[in-house]
């Protein structure tokens, strides 16, 4: 697998160039689509799945937005390589075969060009997705929608006049749209206001998840907020609604940070400098500890309590300190017992390069 074929490794969103990027790391749009007349992925035979992949690949080659897409055939890739794509948020755990099975199923593939991609033979035949830096629902949706429009002219999608786009799980039917933002909320966690905010989300039709989407744990105070329902509202309504609520959550977070700075300025300053000190000098770091320390430093940087490092570096650390990335960099296996040592050395190197 050659990830160098992807400019920025398929992660341009890391560059922190988008709006509100100290608090909102990224915006992601996903559209679920299926090929009309072919059994959904779970029921499809291997021959159905490879036929879907062939059809989608040929169609993609005839489009403008995916003509030069790089294709990753997950069923022909090692587990460590599949995990690497997952750590980059380019494929789901399910598609990469990282859940129960040790291999990806036949026909499981990712096509990716610039900031948009298509997972083929996931829970649905096509999962179109795009990830943007910061809080940028409009641009992300416009890009993914453009791919959808092009592919939909070449591949007949399953669509019903009443139920809309038909998906394997009815929770995605209708628009097939899941819009989500990855947001950093240490202020609300530290002021213990977070539960109130999260409970409020379910009452306005939104849901939250951890760093890697469905079923993942919340670490490092990073939350993924997204729409819960997909039917009965237009795509624009769903996106506007999420946008409105996210702006509100960002406001709450900023207020919580103000409260922290007013009521416990020394404790907050101490906490962020300690986090920075540990990252700069520790000799062994677990992934979870790294995430929590990065959260502290990120808070310190955005409150201007710390002079650096830049948000781009913090974003890079978030991705590159994950097991498959470290293992690949250092020629080890993801289960290697020395990974915490490798992680600490990598973090020190990146932070030193930044401060020199």
């Amino acid at each position: 697998m050659d990830l160098s074929l992807l400019p920025d490794g398929g992660m341009r969103w890391l560059d922190a160039s988008g709006p509100k990027s100290t608090i909102v790391l990224s915006t992601r749009i996903r559209l679920a689509r299926n090929v009309h007349g072919v059994p959904f992925s779970q029921r499809a035979k291997d021959s159905d799945r490879t036929a879907v992949l062939q059809r989608v690949s040929e169609a993609a080659a005839a489009t403008e937005h995916l003509a030069n897409a790089v294709a990753f055939h997950l069923d022909h890739m090692e587990r460590s390589e599949r995990q690497l794509l997952h750590e980059r948020h380019l494929v789901s755990k399910e598609l990469a075969g990282l859940e129960r099975e040790t291999r990806a199923r036949p026909g499981a593939a990712l096509l990716v060009q610039d900031q948009v991609g298509v997972m083929v033979n996931e829970e649905d035949h096509l999962r179109l997705h795009g990830m943007w830096s910061g809080f940028d629902l409009e641009d992300a949706y416009a890009a993914v929608e453009a791919v959808d429009a092009e592919l939909g002219k070449l591949v007949p999608f399953a669509f019903h006049p009443e139920f809309g786009y038909l998906t394997s799980c009815p929770t995605n039917a209708g628009t097939g749209l899941r819009a989500s933002v990855l947001i950093h909320l240490p202020g609300l966690v530290l002021t213990k206001e977070i539960n109130k905010v999260l409970q409020g989300l379910s009452q306005v039709g939104l849901t939250f998840r951890g760093l890697y989407g469905e079923g993942s744990e919340v670490v490092g105070n990073f939350f993924q907020l997204s729409n819960q329902t997909t039917l009965g509202k237009t795509e624009d309504e769903l996106i506007d609604h999420l946008g409105k609520i996210v702006r509100q959550v960002v406001e709450y977070e900023e207020q919580a940070r103000d409260v922290l700075l007013r009521t416990a300025p020394e404790e907050v300053e101490d906490k962020t400098w300690r986090a920075y000190g540990l990252l700069k000098h520790a000799r062994r770091l677990s992934f979870e500890e790294t995430m929590n320390l990065l959260s502290g430093v990120r808070l310190g940087v955005s409150l201007k309590l710390l002079p650096g490092p830049g948000v781009y570096t913090l974003n890079k650390l978030l991705i590159y300190t994950q097991p498959a990335h470290l293992a690949a960099m250092d020629g080890r296996s993801t289960g290697d017992r020395e990974l915490p040592t490798v992680r600490a050395a990598f973090v020190r190197r990146l932070l030193e390069a930044e401060s020199s």
Binding site: S168, T171, G232, T234
Partner: protein, 170 residues
């Protein structure tokens, strides 16, 4: 048509129930439908029940929300049954939405507060009013898919014909 229940007001809702594999359709007015516990609009999400159902779905499969009464229903296109859906939470194919429409309409209302898609309308290639307005590139991809199936099924006569049609288009 008058409501089957009160025989006074106009029927606006067709309630299809499946019992022991046979379908019974009732034509009801809004009031009688509500008395029978049919949710008639977007009010679902506002009710505490809506929240409760949302919580149930979050923790488990949406299939579990479908009553067991229709278990024997089978989708003629893919062969999966409503029971399969209740167990796995996944439908077998796009035709399942037609085969199990009554159950799914109810489920979609409970999940989303509505079963009526109001988002982007989609026109599949080759299904325009003239029937022949498909993007030629789409027709080509279609023929190539047919060709692969013909070769796999060792139907070489059809394969040769399809190959010729592909050549013309290319």
């Amino acid at each position: 048509m008058l409501c089957d229940n009160c025989k006074e007001r106009d029927a606006i809702i067709n309630l299809t129930q499946v019992e022991h594999d046979s379908k019974v359709t009732l034509h009801l007015c809004e009031q009688c439908a509500q008395q029978k516990g049919v949710e008639t609009g977007g009010a679902v999400l506002k009710s505490p029940l809506g929240n409760f159902l949302g919580a149930v779905v979050k923790g488990g499969s949406p299939g579990a929300l479908v009553p067991a009464a229709g278990d024997g229903l089978r989708c003629p296109a893919c062969g999966s049954t409503l029971r399969d859906f209740r167990d796995s939470g996944r439908l077998g194919c796009d035709q399942c939405y037609v085969s199990f429409d009554t159950h799914l309409r109810d489920l979609l209302r409970r999940l989303h507060g509505s079963s009526q898609h109001v988002g982007e309308r989609y026109q599949a290639p080759g299904t325009g009013q003239n029937g022949d307005d498909a993007d030629p590139r789409s027709r080509l991809l279609d023929l190539k898919a047919q060709l692969r199936r013909a070769v796999e099924g060792e139907n070489f006569e059809l394969a040769a014909e399809l190959r010729d049609r592909i050549r013309v288009l290319e």
